[in-house]
Symmetry: C2
Subunit: 248 residues, 2 copies
Amino acid sequence: MTALANGWLAVAGLGPGDEQLVTPEVRSALDAATDVIGYFPYIARVAPRDGLALHGSDNRVELDRAAHALQLAAAGARVVIVSSGDPGVFAMASALFEALEGRPDLIDLDIRILPGITAMLAASARAGAPLGHDFCAINLSDNLKPWALVERRLRLAAQADFAMGFYNPRSASRPYQFAQALEILRQECEPDRLITFARAVTTPDERISTVTLAEATPEMADMRTVVIVGNSATKRLGRFVYTPRRAD
Amino acid sequence: MTALANGWLAVAGLGPGDEQLVTPEVRSALDAATDVIGYFPYIARVAPRDGLALHGSDNRVELDRAAHALQLAAAGARVVIVSSGDPGVFAMASALFEALEGRPDLIDLDIRILPGITAMLAASARAGAPLGHDFCAINLSDNLKPWALVERRLRLAAQADFAMGFYNPRSASRPYQFAQALEILRQECEPDRLITFARAVTTPDERISTVTLAEATPEMADMRTVVIVGNSATKRLGRFVYTPRRAD
């Protein structure tokens, strides 16, 4: 099948939850789409209208979803795959390219990645500026990588004195990972290192709290939480947490 | 001076350049502001209107700018400090909190940080998905930290096999840093590691190119460039560059 000239595919970031954080670029793509594809809770954020087909699917079927989107766009549809946050950060953009590798006939399709506000940066903004210096982002899920690699990255990141953002710290199927991550941090960092737990950031369920590493427990994170670990200079200032720009 | 009840201060991210990437939240804050403060080129992105004072200032006066904003908001003004990208990523949010440390009398002021699309993630989206796995962000400027710390972070990040985004890779006053960063990468990474240079991303001057580490030269970056270094699995796929979700 050769792609029809007028079909296109956008992978769009809806941001962390608040509609006020959806970029006009993403809004325009949704307005122009004939088909929107994504995980059910993200599809639920798209307003139904005539001429728009909404294709919700379950979690963990990213490759099927991407292949479906390619198929539709190749047939002439205007397709948006919706991600939460930013599609390029632990979301659908890489899955789309993995699927595209299996369809070299579609390499010339009109494909665009539309950035969004990723949860880690929304959480940082709500807390103050804990990522205001060099930082890293680590997906704590070991669905697609060995846990040993996560451990290694955690240790090296702590030794580099990066601030850190953790995605997918804990889920029903992986309850132990975050406990182990805390253990590694306790070996590498001082006990008063600040850790911010940001749950369901920018939604009505938002809950943000900051504790020291000594006070942190695994139960403080769930699957809707991003965790931000400050660097060695991160400090509290009233209700805020921030990392100074200067470092020694 | 005690803060007047109706004054507020928002530190807002304008994104990398394209107005279609400015969030509605930021747009609303600008519409409600009496005063907008920032570096001249960012102030130039704000439409003048009756009742709005635009306060442009030069680079490298972040603390003065933040103190000025606090002063105005404390006197009852509705103030927006504009940053490019995301204010929490190598931008004005941390500078604001540094200034606030010197003004404990203003700690109860209504202060909000409004996230934006940071250059690294906009660049990643334009290129494909090179940051689609664990990654770090490093400011290569040594204005506010010793170069030895930058070197150390680069080495550890490469050993952790993070993808990396570099901000401020090179400027007229610091022409040598990026050459040294490339040298460190050549010591730690294989020669066919992919590096994307994204200049003036999402603006009319945008220029994006991807080369191997062996091909990369210092002149490929300037002060308007963000540099994205893939991890060991990052690959080309047609005109795109992406990092698979899976790692060994």
